[in-house]
Each structure stands twice: as structure tokens, then as C-alpha cells.
């Protein structure tokens, strides 16, 4: 009887310990997977924000060039812009000489964040004009 009692005691203590170990193991594995998911989610979320910002900068440049369509020439340029701790490199290239009928415009954005290097670019055509900066008059 005494032996049996001791045997039961050791068995029940063991299952309590095993329960704790198993639960800790499950929790650790689950938390590791969830942490990985969380990090990926956070990275993609910030990437979306960066693309939106870059797109806004590229659009802004195209609108500026479109407004100054009378002074467009065959040129290219580059500048750095900073927004929420990310430095964006904005480059543009205009093909077509002053006085030509239209200019091909390419604006590309480049930036580096925690997930690596990224690029986006927008292309458009802007009509040429030699009559000044009036955006409503194409002559």
C-alpha cells in the first residue's frame, strides 16, 4: 500500500510538470510564429506607407513639370527628400528639346528602408509650348 501511494504521488507530480512544460512549449512556438507574422506585417505596412509617399512625391514632380511645360528642355535632375526618417531620391528625365511638340517625362523614386532598396517610376508625356507658362493655353 505504501509503495502504491508513493508511486501515485510521483506519477501525479510528473503529469503536472509535463503539463507546464507542454504549455510553455506550445506558447513559445506559437509566440515565435506570431512574432514573425507581426514583424512581416509591420514591415509590409511601413512599405505601403513608403510607396504612397514616394508616389505622392513623383506625382508632385510631374505636376510641377506640367505646369512649367513652356520651359521644358532635354534635361535630367535628381534631389533628395526626407519624410518620416526615410530619405527618398527623386530623379527625373525629360526627353525632348524646347519648342518640340511633346516631351517624354520619367520620374523615378528610390529609397532604402529596413526591408531593402525600393524603386517606383512614373512615365508621362507633357506637351511643349513656347508661349510661356499659361497652363490653359497651348499654342
Amino acid at each position: 500500500m505504501i509503495m502504491n501511494r508513493q508511486g501515485n504521488h510521483s506519477e501525479q507530480t510528473g503529469s503536472t510538470l509535463i503539463g507546464a512544460i507542454v504549455s510553455t512549449l506550445i506558447l513559445s512556438i506559437g509566440m515565435a510564429a506570431l512574432y514573425s507574422l507581426y514583424i512581416n506585417s509591420k514591415l509590409s505596412s511601413s512599405h505601403s506607407q513608403h510607396v504612397s509617399t514616394a508616389l505622392a512625391y513623383a506625382r508632385d514632380k510631374i505636376e510641377t513639370l506640367r505646369f512649367n511645360h513652356g520651359n521644358l528642355g532635354n534635361e535630367s535632375g535628381s534631389e533628395q527628400l526626407q519624410a518620416s526618417e526615410i530619405v527618398y531620391q527623386r530623379s527625373w528625365q525629360i526627353s525632348g528639346n524646347p519648342g518640340q511638340n511633346f516631351h517624354l517625362v520619367n520620374v523615378s523614386m528610390h529609397w532604402l528602408d529596413s526591408s531593402g532598396n525600393h524603386n517606383i517610376s512614373l512615365n508621362t508625356v507633357i506637351s511643349g509650348s513656347t508661349t510661356g507658362n499659361n497652363p490653359f493655353l497651348d499654342e
Binding site: 501515485n8 503539463g19 507581426y38 505596412s45 510607396v51 512614373l122 512615365n123 508625356v125 506637351s127
Partner: protein
């Protein structure tokens, strides 16, 4: 000091183990729900961003089409075709290759005039990608032929954009 019998002690320890396991499971389930909610938000943001980029690309292609349409109309005379509803239309054959843009975007420019003698012409540009995405832009212009003697000095027309008539839609 009260000494509990062994059977009671064992039951209590067993219950403690079960409580730990349950607590961990509940914690894990809560964390999973939270992370999945965040992931869904992140996925929605990614989709919005992807759509924004594609639409902006198409919008710039449409703008390019409108600009090109202005230039073409300034230097060329459209040959109007009368539709069954009495309107006069002219389509400008154009592909993205002509404009040096991405070859995955196709641009179509249409001119529409309700009256052949009216100085107002509507330019309609449509940009489409290989998938089902389309983007349209339209604008009214005031059109005056300055020099129609094409054989002598070349055709020339004045094209003035009518402010406030620009409209875009997907």
C-alpha cells in the same frame, strides 16, 4: 498547521497544471486573434497601395494621351465621321509605343463634336492595362483653325483648354 492528505495535494497540483495549460492556450488564442487582425489591416493597406500605384500609372498615361491629343489637333485636321446619333467623332490611332511609355498600357484618344461648326471639341482619352483596369479622362477644348493651307505652310490650329471641363473617372 493543517496538513492536507496526499490525495488532496495531488488534486491541487494537477489542477494547477491544468490551469497553467488553459491560461497559456487562452493567451495564445488572444495573441493569435490580435496578430491576425493586424495582418488583415496590413493586407488591406498593401492592396490600397497597389491599386493606388496602378491607377496613378494609368492616370499619367491618360494625361499623356490628352496632351498628345492636344498637340495632334493643333497640327492636324481631324476627318470627322458622322455617327447615327448625329455626333461627329474622330479616333486617333495611338499606341503606348508612340509615346515611349510602358507597352503594357494602351491609350485611345477620341474626339467628339456635337456640331461640326462648333468650336468646342471634347477630347476623351482612355488608358487600359492588360488586365481589366481602365482609366478615362475627358476635356473640352476651344478649337480654331488658323491656317488650313496645309500644302503651303502647314496646317495650324489654336487649341485652348476650357478651364473647369476636365474630368476623370475609372
Amino acid at each position: 498547521m493543517i496538513v492536507l492528505p496526499n490525495r488532496v495535494k495531488h488534486r491541487q497540483q494537477s489542477a494547477n497544471g491544468l490551469a497553467t495549460l488553459l491560461f497559456c492556450m487562452i493567451l495564445l488564442a488572444s495573441a493569435t486573434t490580435l496578430i491576425f487582425t493586424m495582418t488583415r489591416t496590413s493586407l488591406a493597406e498593401q492592396r490600397i497601395m497597389g491599386n493606388e500605384y496602378r491607377i496613378e500609372t494609368l492616370r499619367q498615361a491618360c494625361e499623356a494621351g490628352l496632351d498628345y491629343g492636344h498637340i495632334w489637333l493643333r497640327l492636324n485636321e481631324p476627318i470627322w465621321q458622322t455617327e447615327s446619333n448625329g455626333q461627329h467623332t474622330f479616333s486617333l490611332p495611338l499606341s503606348a509605343d508612340n509615346l515611349g511609355l510602358s507597352d503594357t498600357i494602351h491609350i485611345q484618344i477620341n474626339y467628339l463634336s456635337s456640331d461640326i461648326n462648333s468650336p468646342f471639341i471634347q477630347i476623351h482619352a482612355q488608358a487600359s492595362q492588360n488586365n481589366d483596369r481602365h482609366y478615362h479622362m475627358r476635356q473640352f477644348i476651344h478649337y480654331t483653325v488658323i491656317n488650313s493651307h496645309a500644302n503651303e505652310t502647314g496646317f495650324m490650329a489654336q487649341v485652348i483648354t476650357v478651364p473647369g471641363t476636365w474630368h476623370d473617372y475609372e
